[in-house]
Every structure is written in C-alpha cells, then in structure tokens.
Symmetry: D2
Subunit: 268 residues, 4 copies
Amino acid sequence: MRVAGAHDALGSTLAWQAGFQAVWASSFEISASRCLPDASVLTMTEYLAAATNMQKAVGIPVVADVDTGYGNNLNVAHMVREYEAGRITAVCIEDKVYPKVNSFAATSHDLLPVSDFARRIGTAKAAQRGEDFYVIARTEALINGLGVEEALKRCYAYAEAGADAVLIHSKKKDQQEIVEFLDGWDGRLPVVVVPTTYPQWSAAEAEKHGASVVIYANQGLRATVQALRETFRTICQDGTSLGVEDVIAPVSDIFALQKLDEWLALEA
Amino acid sequence: MRVAGAHDALGSTLAWQAGFQAVWASSFEISASRCLPDASVLTMTEYLAAATNMQKAVGIPVVADVDTGYGNNLNVAHMVREYEAGRITAVCIEDKVYPKVNSFAATSHDLLPVSDFARRIGTAKAAQRGEDFYVIARTEALINGLGVEEALKRCYAYAEAGADAVLIHSKKKDQQEIVEFLDGWDGRLPVVVVPTTYPQWSAAEAEKHGASVVIYANQGLRATVQALRETFRTICQDGTSLGVEDVIAPVSDIFALQKLDEWLALEA
Amino acid sequence: MRVAGAHDALGSTLAWQAGFQAVWASSFEISASRCLPDASVLTMTEYLAAATNMQKAVGIPVVADVDTGYGNNLNVAHMVREYEAGRITAVCIEDKVYPKVNSFAATSHDLLPVSDFARRIGTAKAAQRGEDFYVIARTEALINGLGVEEALKRCYAYAEAGADAVLIHSKKKDQQEIVEFLDGWDGRLPVVVVPTTYPQWSAAEAEKHGASVVIYANQGLRATVQALRETFRTICQDGTSLGVEDVIAPVSDIFALQKLDEWLALEA
Amino acid sequence: MRVAGAHDALGSTLAWQAGFQAVWASSFEISASRCLPDASVLTMTEYLAAATNMQKAVGIPVVADVDTGYGNNLNVAHMVREYEAGRITAVCIEDKVYPKVNSFAATSHDLLPVSDFARRIGTAKAAQRGEDFYVIARTEALINGLGVEEALKRCYAYAEAGADAVLIHSKKKDQQEIVEFLDGWDGRLPVVVVPTTYPQWSAAEAEKHGASVVIYANQGLRATVQALRETFRTICQDGTSLGVEDVIAPVSDIFALQKLDEWLALEA
C-alpha cells in the first residue's frame, strides 16, 4: 500500500486522484501549514480537525500521525475515542516522550521505556469502541541511535501489546538500517516505512523486503512551498499574473475539485 | 498596494516573503482547501479560524473575504466583532444575497437592494469597537450584468454609508468595464481591483487608472493544485520520490518556515 | 418519549441520569450559554460542536435543533452530512426563513413556501449516508398565526417529502391549538410537542392525544440561571461561600460526573 | 478583588452582574462541562475557546486557569501568544508536571524543580507582546505536602523570574497553612487565594492577612449541577414542568441575558 502525506482535504483528494491508497495526516505538514514547529505545539484538537476534514473528502483511509499520543495513558485513551468518533481509520503513535520534536530535527529524542509504551499501545487498543480502527506503533529507536536490535525488540513488544502494525523510521541517508530491520522482522505484523531521507529506495524494493506500507510523508508540502514561492515571486516582480497563467491550474479545475456543479444542482 | 490570496499561514507567509503588502483570506481558496464549494457552505467560524491563523503568521495585514457577511445585519454586526476580536485588519463584504455562490460560477447572482446593503455597511461600521478596523464594500453589479453606472451608483452609496474602500469585480475577459469604473470614480475612497480573468492588465496600469489595491486572489491555490498533481503523479508512477526531490523544497526550508531553531532555543 | 433540553455534556448527562430518553440540543440554550441571541448568529459549526460534545457523553440519542438548516438546500445537505459524521441521531429543521429568530420573540417569523420547505426535507433525506439518521420537520405555522389547518397541511407535505417525524410548536398560553393539531393528525408520522408556554399540559395528556415525543426544551437552562444568580449573589454579599455549601453539589459529585476514578485507573 | 469561577459566557455574565470583579476560567469547570476529567485531557485549544467566549461576554477581566501550561517551554510560549491574541487578561500557570490531575484528587501531584518552573515563568513573560497581559505563578507545594517554607521559597523564585502575582493553593480543611504563607510573605507581589476546602475563611479575613485576590473557583458549577438534578428529576417524575416554573428564571430573563432586543434593533 502506498500512502501520501497531506494536511488538508485538497491535498488528500489530489493524492487519492493520483492513485495513492491512503493518506497520511502528517503532523509535520499540518504544523507547517500553520508556520508552527512540529514539536507538540499544536494540540490534538487541531490535528484531529485537520485529519477529520481530510477523511471527509476522500474515499480512501486516512492514517493520522498522532505523535506521542499527546501525553500519558489518559491522553491516549481520549485520543483514540476522539479519532474513532471522527471516523479516522488508523492512528500512528510513536514511542517518544511528550512533547516531542520532529525526528529530522538536530536535537535529542527521548524514548519512553519499552514497557511503558507497550502499555500505552494496550491502552489505545482497549479504548477503541468498534472493530474498524487500527493502531500503528512507531518506534523512534533508530532516530535515537539505539540500533536495529533495539528497534526489533521494541516492535515485538508493541505487537505483543496489541498493535495492528509497526512503523520503523530512520533519518539516515541510506536505507541500510531499515533493510536490516525488515530482514530481521518475523512478519507477525505489517511493517510501515517512510523513505524520506533515502528516496533512492523504491517502494518495490521495500516491498521485496517485506514492507507492507510505504509513506511519502511530506513531498506534497515541499512541492507546495516551491510552487507558491515561484508563483508569488513572479506575480510580485511582474505586477501581473500573466507569467504564471499557463502553468497553474485553471479556475475550472478548482470548481471540479469543489464539485461545484453537483452542489449547485441541489438548488436548480 | 499589492495583495496575494491565500488560505493558510504557510501561503500567507510565502506571499509576505515574496513582497506582497497584504494577504487576501480568500473564501474561494479556503473552501477549495476543504474540497467544498465557495457557496456559503462553510461557516463564518471556519472562515474566521483560517483568517486568524493567517494573521498570526504574518507582519502584514490580512484582508478577510467575508462574502455577504453571512446573513442579515445581526450576522454582519456579529461578524465584525468576531473578526475585530481576532485582530483581522479588514473585511470585505459583497452586496449579494446570502447564501452566495462564487462570482465566476455560471449561475445567477442576486444582489441586495442598494439601500439594504448601504445599511449593512453602516451596521458593520457601527459594530466595530476600535479605530483600526476597515470595511471594504464590494459590489457585484458587474458580475450581475448591471453595468458600470449601477456599479458606480452602488459604490457611492456604500461610501456614503461609511465604507473605508470599495472593491469592483468583473468576470469579463478584459478589463474594459473596470477601467470605465475607475475613470468614472471620483476618488472619494480607495478602489480595490481583482484581475483574475484579465491577467493581461497589470497592476501598474490599474494604478494609473486610480486603483489603490490590486488583489491576485487565487493564483497561489491554482499553483498548489498543479504542483501537487504533478508531484503525486510522479511519485505514484515511479514508486519513489527520487524524480521530484530536485524540484521540491528541502525539509530544511520547511523547518525555516516553522522557525524551528527559534522555538527549540526555548528549551535549550 | 420524554426529552430534556441541554447545551453541554454536563446537562445532557444529568438529563440522562434523571431518566430522560433523549436530549434536545437546543439552539436557544446553546446561544444563551454564549450570551448571544437565538437568531442564527452562532454558526452551524458552533451548534454542531455543542451537539457532538453532548452526544459523546450520553448513551441516549441527541436530537439537534438545527433551526432553518442554516441557509438553502446546499446548506441543508452539508448540515446533514456534518451532523451524521458527528454521530448525531436526529436533526430538527424548521420551516422559517434564514436567518431566523427564536419563536418566542415578539417579532415576525416568515415561513418558506410549503413546497420549498418540502423540497428542503427531501434534500436532507437524500443527503444522509447511513440508515440511522432521522430528520424531524418542524412547522412554525402556529407561531406565525396561520392556524391549525395550515400547520396540518404543511406537516402532511413534509411527511410526503420524507420527514421521519413532525414537530408542532405554539407560543400560546394554553395547549388548545396543539390538541386540535393532534386530533386532526392522521398518525402517519410521530408528532413531537414542546410544552414551554403551556406547562399545565402534562406529557401523559399529550400522549393521550397521540404525541410521541415531549420536549422540555429549556427548563434546565432557566434553572441554571436562577441557581447561578443566587449562588453568586450570596457569595458576593457574604464574602464567603459558607452560605451555599450545603445546597450545592460537593466536589466529589463533580468528580463522579467526570468519571475521574475510571480515568485515573489508566495510569495506576 | 473577588473572583468567581465559570466555564462559559453565561456563568461569567452572571458573576459580573452579581458584583464579582473578575472571572476565573476554571479548568475544573470547563472539563466538567464536558464530563471529562480535569487531568490535561482537554486541550489548550478547548480551554482557550472557553476562556475567549467568556471574555467576549463580560466587561471585567478573565483570568484563565492554564494548568501546567500544557507541556514544556515551547508550549508555554505558544500558550501565552494564543491567550494574548484571544484578549485574555491573565493566565495562571501551576508548577506541576504535565499532564496534571486536579489538586483535590487523591493521587500524586509531582512538581517541577523550582528552577525549571522559574524558567517557565520567564519564558511566559518573554513571550507576551503587549503590556496588558499578566502571568500568575501558582505553586502546588502545599497540595504536594511540601510545607509552607517550600511554598514561600518557590513563590519568591517565581517572583524573581518575572511573575506578576502568585497563587497559593491548599486542600486542607482549614486555612492554617495559607495564613502562615501570607504571614510569611514579604508582599513583593500580590497573592491569590482559593478557599474551596476552607469556606469558613472569609475574603475579609484573607485580605486582612494580605491576600489581594480571592477566587471562588467552582461553586457556580456545583450549584448548576444541583439545580439541574432537581429540575430534571421533578420534570421527569411529574411529566410536566409545572412544578419548577416558579423557581426557574422566566424565558424573558434569558432574552435579557442574550440582549435580544438590542440585537433585533439592528434589523428593525
């Protein structure tokens, strides 16, 4: 399964139209859209509102990045009930301490003891009310430099605690650690990978090593920034939008994304 | 003054960095980011939240597109108080009937009687509490095919009622009507123009005819859609993001937009 | 079925504990809790958030008072999708023109033509996605002085259009009109009544005449205002809360309503 | 100064009308209104929305109970900016570890090291942008059983760090500890007290010992619960509201609190 990161209904819809099978409601993207750091500064309320608006727009699942779960076990139980009530399909909780900082930031990334996070996963699963809600346990062991063995140990413990899948994250320039993890994993649960810093590693290769889900977590955001920069610079310099008209989508494309005709038919 | 449309803090910040002097919190953009029609379907609460998040991120004014004001005079008075409380600099109210539809949509666009809308402008100005809040009266007379004379008559009435500026909108392929309006206007208030369908008409030309503000209302959104489409298609087809890495902004640019270092220093 | 009005989770829970079988998410109560008029000034977003928080707290259905549906057919379709997504059981739409004013206010209350509102009901029912969502059509014909015959004619048309129940409202000091309506109604749909201005008319009597649902719409709010007034006055005059301690609930009761022990067990 | 706790605009307005000079936006009340524990389960977004709605309704200051500040120094800086943007007059931060639990709950209440919390207060003050925003430092030293000397030591450190006032809290049945604190305090900053568990201690006595502010933090909520219980029970048992009509406020009182006539005049 291939998944694209997004932060709003529009990006989610375009990911869906492009052929992605799920959308990642990225904390990095959502906080960036607010020009605030990906550091537990925005609240669960704000992340949930973004994820819910995304899920309403698409016919594919939204996997919500819920960082550490926003505090302790009470926060995690509450989070699960709120996301489930918001009809989100899955949440991904990571084993860092609240408040966390984005994994690519050059700072320390403290982890919870494995037993504490395993209990947190159990709390999350016990809190859900229906059958169709999934909890992905994400280990930041590699981000924290603890090595593949610790990452495997943690993921087995999280599987034992009831996780529905595990996510293994790395910020190395190559995929070596991730491949080792996958080769060492016994397959008891699906594994999710996020090739942000090692884009040379294809989804096909990841899948060959046993990964079930590949997330392209923030390329859409980064494309948006580039496009806005160029567009705004051109218009500002030229004093007219003439120079961008041929490369930007026409207004009619926006109307189509808004399903304007379908809506207007209700008052016809 | 040159203004760029946006729908979130990120777009607003990039417009600011590009040199725009204000940001237009566009209803078209905000509703499109939700994949919902620009037809009074989103609520004031949602438009205000977007505008407030935009204003918090930038050091330039946000001009909020508040459509018709969301109902009658009670709604307009409440809207003014809420936007002022949210520290928005200016709102722009149009003389269409609630619920409105986007001006470029091929449907009817009923206007309020001029005296009713003039009273509405007076209500808006009476509702504000401080000095630093501005109400722009937008006429849709040209959108409705009523001609330049009616547009001028309406704008004079709105000026009389206390508007701080007027906005004249057209969906023609050329700027002829707008030029006629500007040439006929006696200059008692600043005039705002929005060259969406006549991009060949430059800000410099508009200013030569007396326009004070030129809004590039939705080009950023349209650039975003195009960029997301291409990026998602390439990644989905290739099964890797390698093909887009060179054309999208690096993660470090996102960190800079989030002012990550400045935030992390608080815990250093 | 007997229903109590409320505006938050706390009031809803206390209504549930008292034995009511459903909760009325009253626009009058919700707007009063904000000290704003019940006049379409708050937005759907705000009413929905209140209703959702109420529904999350109780094991009985929440019936949401959605006034006129917030605009035209587009607004009604969007409202239904949003309330259904928020897991609200039922909405009640009234046949007044947006923006409406509270029915007890001494002002005019314009109605939509019967065919327009019937179409609105059809739009609402067509917009719902699941089976377990109900639309109650409320006529304000008696509020508008149009008489019982018009009220019946309207309710039959709304039944024809797909309503799941009808609500008949009056602001007379006695129940005469309502009794006439019930005696004239052919029973094709359940009828909801709201004995606010004729409290001498018991639920048992209403049921004898064929009413299926009796709503006590705002007595909780009015009790709250009285209790707060007395409590605050006593404390302010006395300069101590000693005089109220015996008549207010102890802190332990609040903890029980918050299920504090159950929550704390998650971290034990 | 005497302050009443509330959780919405209605309670705040009634406190103001009763003569209180400020309103305490109580986390205990706000979470109770949601039937959720006062244990950092609701988010800053939700507490801020409540406080903002309260401040909009009254002409007296709102003092917002912001618990621990919602995380680390980043969260505190962000909190200050958001509350200041929401025009809240003052926030009160306590020196417990996030996530906290209500001080009256029979559980442990871990404190931050004094230097960490002092730095947090400094961060809060550095984050504010205008002059008219106040940060109250609340110590939970007595709640944690650390004694009056530790409480004084902490409050001096917080004063040093820039706090505008200190709040001293106790859950003892008598005011003895608080009196000792006040008698030991050198008066460099105003002291706030909260006589919840020792209601026999009057505001006049507190002021005699040097307290500047007395908060009656949750009596309004507790009165509301009692009033709703009795009202709902009576109506449910009787099958009519006749038995409560004489003791609850009339609908016209609610209209007055909503300023209905003033609003309707806008459309007259």
